[in-house]
Amino acid sequence: MQVSLTERAAAHVQKFLSKRGKGVGLRLGVKTSGCSGMAYTLEFADDFLDEDVRFQSHGVTVIVDPKSLVYLEGTELDFVREGLNEGFKFNNPNVKNTCGCGESFQV
């Protein structure tokens, strides 16, 4: 199992990385917070840590720490537009419940 990006998401990540001018990849993770237990984090990565697990997806290095990987395995990150708003969306098969707003989730 792995963590991947859709082609569309990868294209946007690459655009943002090149605009930013530095960074080795995209770090995905979860942290305990929010109203429903867990929340995703999505950050640029400037370096790798020893324990990191790395995936290659459409030319982008996706970095996940092992603790988060438990909750993220099989996740596909997409880039979508909803009305005027656009951004990244986690399609995570582990999720059982999300809170009303969708910002946090339970497994």
Binding site: V13, R20, E43, F44, G83, L84, E86, C101, G102, E103
Partner: protein
């Protein structure tokens, strides 16, 4: 499912705590809203993909107001209810109306503010601006998917307290929390400074639709400092259009065109001007009531017509350089801002003046909003502020009135903000227990030539001899350029404070005029100041002599001496009344000489009284 944005390492926002912050460029002709997404700032577009929102509002009798392109489309049919360039009316009082360029609106006056009579009832400039801001807020919330935490709104460097306050009021009315106001050129510098990471001294050349601002900034180790600002508030891209319209009317020998025809001519002029920025020649085409007009127009002709306008931007540059005490060679780069700087002749003139190529790699229409967005993002805490901070300056000196209608400047123009300055003052008369403090703004030496900001009184000063009380007056200007003044008598601690809720009323043009006049009249002002100072001194002398004569003249002086002093005093008073400065000096000197002996006798008498009956050891 909420949509996520990529954050900087370690800065992911916790759920439900996304802080959406935007930068808003509330312009005379166009307004924009920008935000920082995925680490870079971008201007937000509407559904049709348009970035610029024309700053135009159309009021209708029984429908909500329309803002932007739809309102512009309605302008020709319903000019009385379509409000354009409302920024020029911000913070102005009823007495400024007469000085404004003619507009098609019917004005009313309520609560000291201008009101425009529209089909939807009377609207103040603040309300019109609020409608524009509301549209931008809705656009931002739709594209960011949440409520705004706050916004930074940019204002011209020339805006005075009243105009800044009016801008804040408009934002509050639109339901926007203002994180702070930011000078437009400073915002542009942020956009360039952070994107390019260059250090040095920069000039920001901002030629917008209706105003020209020139600022000199120093970027050093990530710190922005505004060294000087200057400008011409009645010069902009619209004047270039006006030039072309006049040329078209002359060339085609048109007889007084109607209002609608004039509007069409202006639109055609703008189109031709924009075309000439890209091509060496174009056609000036417009549909008139009498038929179609189609004139060929080359860039050379256009530049010859407008050369004087371009030259007019150079004087404020020289003034700002002088204020910053810099030579042209000290400028490391020139940042171009405002749509009008797309014109090759403008870029050439600026580049020739500074002797170096100008920076225009960001969209000159967007650069201010982009910079404001970056600053807003820092202020709501989405990004560590690192250690860069921003210093702005006050556009006109702040001071207070002293005896004789003179201005004592407390905070000089171009001081960096926030600033606090204090100065000690004293009483003019014996036993004076109150002091009226008159806060003024301007560059001239006489109060009458400056702008009055506030009056307040400090009461309860302990009765002391003239000159003995010490009253410390403190001026504080916060980061938004708003002023508070406090006065405190040092020995008793009585205090009075005023927050300058500036009376709406000073125009851009007036500020520009005040600056110009202060330079043109520098010598006359200095002479007037000297004259007033001598008069005040002479008045003080005559008061003191009179008081002394009353107190002990009869004891210490014989009849003849008293008569001589009284005679000299009479001469001095006559000179004061006549305003004859030579006679004033002569009679002041004469009185001083005559009373010298008297003064030393008084001193002896005072010492004798003090020492009487005391032993040496007690002293």
């Amino acid at each position: 499912m909420a949509l996520l944005q990529i954050a900087e390492p370690g800065l992911s926002a916790a759920p439900h705590r996304h802080r959406l912050a935007v930068g808003i460029d509330l312009g005379t002709t166009h307004s924009l809203v920008a935000t920082v997404r995925n680490g870079s700032s971008e201007v937000l577009a509407d559904l049709a993909g348009r970035h610029l929102l024309p700053s135009i509002v159309h009021y209708r009798a029984d429908a909500p107001p329309e803002v932007g392109d739809v309102a512009r489309a309605a302008a020709a049919a319903d000019p009385k209810n379509v409000v354009v360039s409302v920024k020029r009316l911000m913070g102005r009082g009823a007495d400024d109306l007469a000085k404004l360029a003619p507009t098609p609106y019917a004005y009313g006056v309520g609560a000291g503010q201008i009101q425009i009579e529209t089909a939807a009832g009377p609207k103040t400039p603040v309300e019109v601006s609020a409608d524009i801001l509301k549209t931008l807020r809705e656009r931002a919330e739709a594209s960011l998917g949440g409520e705004l935490t706050g916004a930074i709104i940019t204002v011209p460097a020339y805006f005075d307290d009243a105009q800044r306050q009016a801008t804040k009021d408009a934002a509050r009315l639109a339901g926007i929390e203002v994180l702070r106001l930011l000078n437009e050129p400073t915002a542009a510098a942020i956009a360039y400074g952070l994107d390019n990471g260059s250090e040095g001294i920069y000039a920001v050349y901002d030629l917008g639709g209706g105003t020209f601002d020139l600022s000199i900034l120093r970027l050093e180790r990530g710190v922005f400092e505004v060294l000087a600002t200057s400008g011409d508030s009645a010069l902009g891209g619209d004047d270039f259009d006006e030039c072309l319209v006049r040329w078209a009317i002359e060339t085609a020998a048109l007889q007084t065109p109607s209002d609608t025809e004039l509007r069409r001519l202006h639109t055609a002029a703008r189109r031709a001007k924009e075309a000439l920025s890209g091509w060496p020649e174009t056609r000036f085409q417009v549909e008139l009531d009498t038929g179609a007009l189609d004139l060929p127009l080359t860039r050379e002709t256009f530049e010859a017509l407008t050369v004087e306008l371009v030259q007019r931007t150079l004087a404020p540059i020289k003034r700002a350089l002088r204020d910053a005490k810099l030579k042209v060679g000290a400028i490391d780069g020139v940042v171009m801002v405002g749509g009008a700087t797309r014109m090759p002749c403008v870029q050439r003139a600026a580049s020739a003046f500074f002797g170096k190529p100008v920076l225009c790699n960001l969209d000159p229409d967007q650069v201010v909003a982009l910079g404001a967005a970056i600053q807003a993002n820092v202020l709501v805490g989405n990004r560590s502020a690192d250690d860069w901070l921003l210093l702005d300056v006050i556009p006109l000196s702040l001071g207070l009135e002293t005896m004789g209608g003179l201005v004592e400047k407390i905070v000089p123009r171009n001081s960096t903000l926030p600033v606090a300055r204090a100065q000690d003052f004293t009483t003019f008369k014996d036993g004076q227990t109150a002091m009226s403090i008159h806060v003024v703004q301007g560059e001239r030496e006489l109060v009458a030539e400056c702008r009055s900001l506030a009056h307040f009184e400090l009461r309860g000063i302990p009765p002391l001899a003239a000159g003995a009380a010490r009253i410390r007056v403190t001026f504080q200007v916060d980061a938004d350029g708003l002023l508070s003044v406090s006065a405190r008598e040092q020995s008793s601690g009585v205090e009075a404070t005023v927050a300058v809720k500036p009376s709406y009323g000073l125009t851009d043009e007036e500020i520009a005029r005040m600056l110009k006049e202060s330079i043109a009249n520098a010598e006359a002002d200095a002479a007037a100041r000297m004259r007033r100072e001598e008069t005040v001194e002479a008045e003080r002398l005559s008061e003191a002599t009179e008081a002394a004569l009353d107190a002990d003249g009869a004891i210490l002086l014989d009849e003849e001496e008293r008569a001589r002093i009284r005679g000299a005093l009479g001469n001095l008073r006559a000179a004061i009344v006549a305003g004859d400065i030579d006679a004033l000096r002569r009679s002041s000197g004469a009185l001083n000489a005559l009373s010298q002996d008297y003064a030393s006798r008084r001193m002896d008498a005072a010492i004798q009284t003090a020492l009487a009956g005391r032993r040496l050891a007690e002293l």
